[in-house]
């Protein structure tokens, strides 16, 4: 009898302990470290998402909204001289190639001339070696040719940029230069190089302000070339290297997802929808695309008031 009593008391004790522990498990309060940190992403999740990138191609939007091109050409420069070799256990070079793949997958490649170069292959800056491409398959093939291991001989980024400027004149029209690099890489030299690009754009070859402007400058297209940066090892975007606000700097993470990449590519490649009559209503939603100038239009782009002043 007594034994039984002891047993039951013990059982109650154990049970109450168990109850306590389960209560503790229910409410877990994280220890406050006192500082706020940007924690790493869950790597497994990230690696999974690499292979599940489902591009949001811009073609449809371009066709639907009649977007006007901001640039004719795109130069993609892979900076292989990064100080960090791995990001989240993935080699940075692999990461770079993947980001380029995503950009190409999203962009309407056929409408632009792409130049794919990296600064561990100095020969790629010479005219004959690398072609301007407008074919998605060829570009993808070229992309796979990039070595994933960093080379010993790397051209400094600012020199690579300067070399690119030499090649920009080959192609007609303004060019977007996408540099896949790191925020640490953008030093004073690079900033100066970008400033020089602004001068190139303004004064053609840049040697003299008296020089003849380049062909595409004369043809009336006045949008100069811009340099955009994609920070491979960075989590947060910075407005580094932006000259006159022309270039965009984005952390790779900020544009790695389909809709972000589509938004980024659209900003880089396109100015916006076409508006042929200049009434402020874009052609894709303009029912009357030839409104006379200086008239008030409605949201359908047609005249709001007839000549008599009445609502149409």
């Amino acid at each position: 009898m007594v034994k039984k009593l002891i047993k039951s008391t013990a059982l109650i004790f154990v049970l109450s302990l168990a109850g306590c522990s389960s209560m503790e498990a229910l409410v877990s309060v994280p220890a406050n470290q006192g500082t706020s940190v940007v924690s790493d992403y869950d790597l497994s999740l990230y690696q999974r998402s690499i292979h599940t990138f489902d591009p949001l191609p811009l073609n449809q939007k371009v066709a639907a909204e009649l977007l006007e091109k901001r640039v004719n050409n795109v130069v993609i420069l892979l900076d292989r001289g990064l100080s960090v070799s791995e990001v989240r256990d993935v080699p940075v070079s692999l990461f770079q190639v993947e980001m380029v793949r995503r950009f190409i997958a999203t962009s309407p490649v056929e409408d632009f001339s792409f130049l794919l170069v990296s600064n561990d292959r100095p020969e790629s800056f010479e005219n004959s070696r690398v072609e301007w491409l407008s074919d998605r398959e060829e570009l993808m093939t070229n992309l796979t040719n990039f070595s994933l291991k960093p080379s010993r001989a790397v051209v400094p980024l600012h020199l690579a940029l300067e070399s690119i400027y030499q090649r920009i004149d080959e192609a007609a029209g303004p060019t977007a230069i996408l540099v896949f690099t790191d925020w640490d890489q953008i030093d004073m030299e690079v900033q100066n190089a970008i400033s020089r690009l602004a001068q190139y754009s303004e004064f053609s070859q840049g040697d003299s302000i008296m020089a003849e402007p380049a062909e595409w400058k004369r043809s009336g297209i006045t949008q100069p070339s811009c340099v955009h940066f994609i920070g491979m090892t960075n989590y947060l975007s910075r407005s580094k290297g932006s000259i006159q606000g022309c270039g965009i700097s984005k952390a790779a993470d900020a544009i790695s997802q389909p809709s972000d990449m589509a938004s980024f590519a659209e900003q880089v490649l396109y100015r916006g929808p076409r508006d042929s009559d200049g009434d402020g209503v874009f052609d894709f939603e303009d029912s009357c695309p030839d409104t006379p100038e200086g008239r008030i239009v409605n949201f359908a782009g047609c005249l709001k008031f007839s000549d008599a002043g009445e609502l149409e």
Partner: protein
Amino acid sequence: MNRVLFFLLFFATQSWAADALPPGTLNSEYLQFKQARQLAPDGNDAPLAIAPIEYLRSSATSDDEPSELERVVSETLKPPSLDEQMQEGISQRKLEQYGYDIFSGLASTFAPVAAIPVPEDYIIGPGDTFVVQVFGAVDVQYNLVVTREGRVLVPELGDIQVAGLRFDEAKELIVESLERVRIGAKAIATLSELRTVQVLLVGEVSQPGAYTVSGLSSLLNTLVSAGGIRRTGSLRNIQVKRSGVLVAIFDLYDLLLNGDESNNIHLRHGDVVFVPPIGATIGVAGEVQRAAIYELNGETTVGDVLKLAGGLLPTAAATKTQIERIESDDFYTLIEADLKGDGINTALKNGDLIRVLPVIEKFSNVVYLDGHVIAPGSYQWRDGLKIGSIIDSRDMLRQGTDFGITVIERENLQTKRSEVIYVDLAAALAGDPQANVSLEPRDRIVIFSTHGDRSGQLRQTVEKLEREATVDKPAPVVYLNGFFKHPGKYPLQAGLRVTDIARFAGGIKPGTDLNYAVLARTVNGDNKTDITVINLRRSIKEPRGDHNPIIRPSDRLYFFDDYQDRPDLLRPEIEKLRQQAAKNEINRTVSISGEVAHPGFYPLAAGMRLSDLIVAGGGLKEGASSKSATLARRQQQADEFTRVVQLEVDLADENSALLTASTVLRPGDELIIKAKPEWVETTNKVTIKGEVLHPGTYSVDKRETLCSLVQRAGGFTENAYLFGTVFTRESVRQREQQALDRVMGELDDLLAEVHLSPGYDKDRKLPDDRNTLDTYKVIKDLAPKKAVGRLVIDMEGAVKSCREADDIVLENGDTITVPKYQDEVSVVGQVYFPTSHKFKSERAALDYINLSGGTKELAQREHAYVVQANGEVMTVRSQASTWGWLMSPSNVRVTPGSTVFVPLSVDRINGREFAQSWVDLFYKLTLGVASVDYLFKN
């Protein structure tokens, strides 16, 4: 005869008084009667009985209950049409049978009145009593009753036959007989008591039966005494039969309407009064003198009956009189009769109801002049009347009349809707045929003043228009908001444009932003708000262009000036636009913030560009960067994710790599205008006073120093005492003030604690509350209220070499005061004789104190302070690291222009130790104040 007249007068006043009452009271009175009726027993069906002569009517008003006839007629008075229902109050009065109220409300008894004279033609009969008095030779009096044989029996004379004689004949006969017999005597005969007669009342009387009435009674007296005629009885065919022969037919209407009582005969014994049932009746309702139910007696036409009813009222619409008639097939029909034409001769049938409608209560041939005129009111309309002929002289208009606009409010006779016409009054008065419009009857002309509230005068019109509004026909009203001379609601005339309505609202005011005005419109059908941005400059230039559109009903127009809060004014429209965002769309509003005049939300008009938004926002402020701005744009992706894209905008260069000001705005865009780099609203100002060559206020740049300022001020005068320079700085002053306020706050808290805490009583050392309070009061009084913000500087060092290490960078609001050289040292505080002393280099602080007579009893010598001329404060105690020999304070050296303070020993007052620390605090914080004041007193 006289007696009858009396009664007539009495009845007549009764009945007329009832008729003269207003309809409402009559109805309520009727209701009261009806209630009384329900309570009182009905006397109508009382058994045939011979009632005594003083028959008391138990219910005086028993006959006032409406008869069946009255009920039926009143029920048919329901208005047959809606128009008539409006006149219900007039024509819906309950109809009553005419004449019967003569029998109601009378005295309950009908006693024959002895006091009135007996008429001469009274026929003497048995039962009459003569009083005969004989005087002269003998003096006797007889009371003689006429016997059943008709004689009077006179003593000593015998009988005289008097029955059948008229009263005057009988009287003469008696007197003659007496005087003939009694020679020398005179006789007077008179009637004292009259005989009674018995009559039979039958037919439709209230109380049929045999009645014994005074021999003087007429037919009407008898009927009244018998309770009158029932409402089912005829008033016009009352018959009196004597011995089976019809002797009189009495028509009561003759009496009531014409005062003719020729057939109101005196009744004789045995007469039978027969009241036959009522004959044919006609109801007359509406606008007649006496609306009632009338019994016919020979009348055949409408005209005859209207005569009975006293004729038409002036308010009768005679041409539209209706007659309701019961046809043979048991239905009512309606016959219209033109009483001014043949209708007056329309033949009537029993049971007809004549309804005379009132005229419509409207003036037809008038126009109404309203507003800012000397004599507002109605004016006669005639064909071809124009404004200019109504206002035939400018004297009719009051001071300050607005000649630019006049509103004519008109009832459209076809649609019955209100319309307005705006008229240029000046042109109309000048005779311009286009402006001088023809008036229609019932037009309302509103004249405005240039200064008064315009919408108030138009409120009536606007409300009428708003009430008439429907979904497909919105109210023709325009709402003017913002910078108008007279904002508010205005009625709309078809075809008015923006500038027109602006003119009517007092004209476009000077100071209006001509580049941005908003026309908000609710689009019919989908109820959406549509925004048009209007450039008034172009509206004025092109009066028929896009920027001067025709205003539609219920439009809202917003004008702005440079000072109004535009987003606040536009908020109702913004709210509407926010609610109206279509599926998959961002609402059509944009915002601007930063360095613009009116930051906030604005409605997005189609094709609006960045530059338009800046114009809407009142333009850039002076500090705005013209180079770059940021546009935050919401982009909806194909996968429905929304991304906010920050776009850099170049406001200056159209051909830049950035977006330009000509960029089209998208819904939800936010434009942030940046300030110019290092923008300052005003330049920094510093003031230098005192012993400099050019004292005054100087503007300084960002990195200007004290030395360069002194150079600009031309250097010092020879009297300048550089060591005593007072340098005050606003930022320092504010910090000091904060500290001071905090200390004062703490002191207040402490005071409160002292009040509240009972624990102090335990401590024997502490004084009671009264003393504690006094202590703190002393401390508070000692404390200065305002900080000075003095910065102790080394002026000489700063100016001498102009080296950066010693120099001071100036701030906005710095004040530098260079005093004259002073060779005095003043001693203030707890000394016997506070005064100033000549500075001598060999004297130190304590020496000066001694020169002033030494410290007082309450002084705290060891806590004495010296405020040096440059603002440094040093305690006598702190100068030496130790307290010296025998705990006496050391003797601090002083500079010319210094002040020596000997503080009050608070401990001595109350024994509170820590009070001293407060005093210390205040001195340290603010001693500079007193010394600075002292310095510049000289």
